[in-house]
Amino acid sequence: MRVLSFLLQKEFKQIFRNPTLLRMILAIPVIQLAILPLAADFEIKNINVVVVDHDHSTYSRDLVNKITASGYFVLVDYNNSMDKGFGYLESDVADVVLEIPPGFERNLVRENHEQLFLAINAINGTKANVGGGYLASVISSFNEEIRLEWFQKGMPAKSTVIEAQAINWFNPLLNYQFFMVPGILVVLVTMVGAYMCALNIVKEKEVGTIEQINVTPIRKHHFILGKLIPFWVIGIFVFTLGLFLVARLIYGIVPVGSLALLYGYLALYLVAVLGIGLLVSTYSQTQQQAMSLAFFLMMIFLLMSGLFTSVESMPPWARVIAQFNPVTYFIEVVRMIIMKGSGFQHVTRHFLIMAGFAAVFNTWAIINYRKHT
């Protein structure tokens, strides 16, 4: 125990001796957490639309008014040349081009049927889908109005109504930041923990000081604990800064669930993540190698975690990979506890899995560590 406390003193001194590094460890996550959630908004709005109107009738003008009044669309141009319309699509000025054919009103009245042409820039498939869907629903409600107008001239309108009342639980105002802030916080804490821990140990290898320690009577587990504990503390500190300073003060996010449960999971999670850092360090001889390996893993962890895209939508093989990603579980747990107030009984499975990760990564790292020294 005495040896460990000396080692810890040394490690903390080394960390505090480099104020630039320390400031970076704290500032980078806090600044990013403050800014990045504002950039993460997938809601489709302000769709730029160009209307190519060959008809210039009352109906066509009514339709255009209805589109601009819906609030989703910005009318970029209103003309009568489809070439011009395509030009706007090509230069990204417009997302959608709506073409109203000549004789639109006349055909609709006389033949009861008319067709509109919609060209959508679909490079971003999701945006195209949603934007096209909005426009289609505006057109269909315009259609409804016309129909009603004609019905009133003759027969009575007989229609069946099915009301679908939607209620949004846990986030009634549909605030996207409530969803993103906890997720980004998890990623930042993961990076600080795993990355700093790996770099720190490899640096000792590179400089050669690790050999000096190896010839002293310090036991291996003391050395490893001496390396892990400081970053465990830093991880908890960064998480706390993020949760109270940024999430609460800037975004007004107050966890619904128990803080004790949240910190309990964080403590366990950090053990697993530091295990990954330790593991990376045992496979690297230089800081550059550790960095490349950490970058490689971080990319996969990040993309397969459900932070940006949902895990359920991935193909089965990818969902399997996501299940071997510790970040996936912590993001889930953080969102559950903070937003839904889930209790221990709801996240028992997550606790067990994380304990498994912690055991596997650390055992693997320690075995590998012995082999290499």
Binding site: N112, H113, A122, I123, A164, S292, S313
Partner: protein
Amino acid sequence: MRQLFTFIKKEFKHVFRDQKTLLLLFGLPIVQIILFGFALTNEIKDASLVVVDYSKDEATQKIIEKFRTNSSFKLEESILGTKEIEEAFKEGKVKMALIFPADFENDLIHENRASIQLIADATDPNTATTLVNHANTIIRDFRQELATGRPDHSIAIDTRNIYNPELKGTTNFVPGVMALVLLLICVLMTSVSIVKEKESGTMEILLVSPFNPFMVIIAKAVPYLLLSIVNLSVILFLSVYLLDMPINGSIALLFAVSILLIMTALSLGLLISNSTDSQQAAMLISLMGMLLPTMMFTGFLFPLENMPWPLQLVANVVPSKWYYIIVKDVMIKGLGFSAIWKETLILTGMTAFLLFVSIKKFKIRLS
């Protein structure tokens, strides 16, 4: 010239000696392109849905059947009571609940009016809104089936999805991955190159030798430039043959602008390397400081036009944003140089500026 050549040869040897790093450098784009291409999608599929049916009649059965066959939803078989829904939500098992009140069909037939309650887990607002929209469409379809006869005065819509008729996610993600991988790898690798020599003391040897500092910088960058070109080729090869992506524009133009982006990234990396005094600091800036912002400000994950204007300004200084636009224009839209000259000019300006500052900083160190 001969000196420079010798220098470059030396740097190449350094790079190739570290086989682990090299392996990762080549492995990363491959893994990324496969993950992005196949696994990531913003589409919502198989969202778990529970149904509470208090009516249990033919109409509700028909609607439930429609939900069952829709690919957005995955119907959980268990029929729960309202109280159990909350538990299911808290365990994160369910994304939406559909509740039919008693006498649903009865109301529908006799009063022409019936209601359904949808409860969405709005922890993720996007998923919630999308699912509610999908549900509304399904219910509207059902209602239209109830109405007999062909409706009068109907407007049909002929929709054409330009550039990506099948609405594949890859068309959007591949240009994004190209921007991300090329930029980050180059910055990451070059950012440690000079600071490493500083840290190990070999820099001083270089500084007392009669070499032009400019040459040192070029020699550091050349191996990574070549490596990145190989990476670029691998990415393009995989996109075309594995992901069925088209290259509609000129390949030569695509390579030329890619090399420009690589040079921007190299200059940025050199600048970081010149401004820091430990590898740890350089790595912190280039990995922790750049990974997330680059991802989010390139524009392929979240639309830039949705961001508040100060953040749109921030996005303007992220080189990958401009490169992403260029790749979309050349690769997918098949446009020529006339469409991308503005973005190319911006990247060229960035490169010139970064190189200038970086050399300036380097010279200060000499004195």
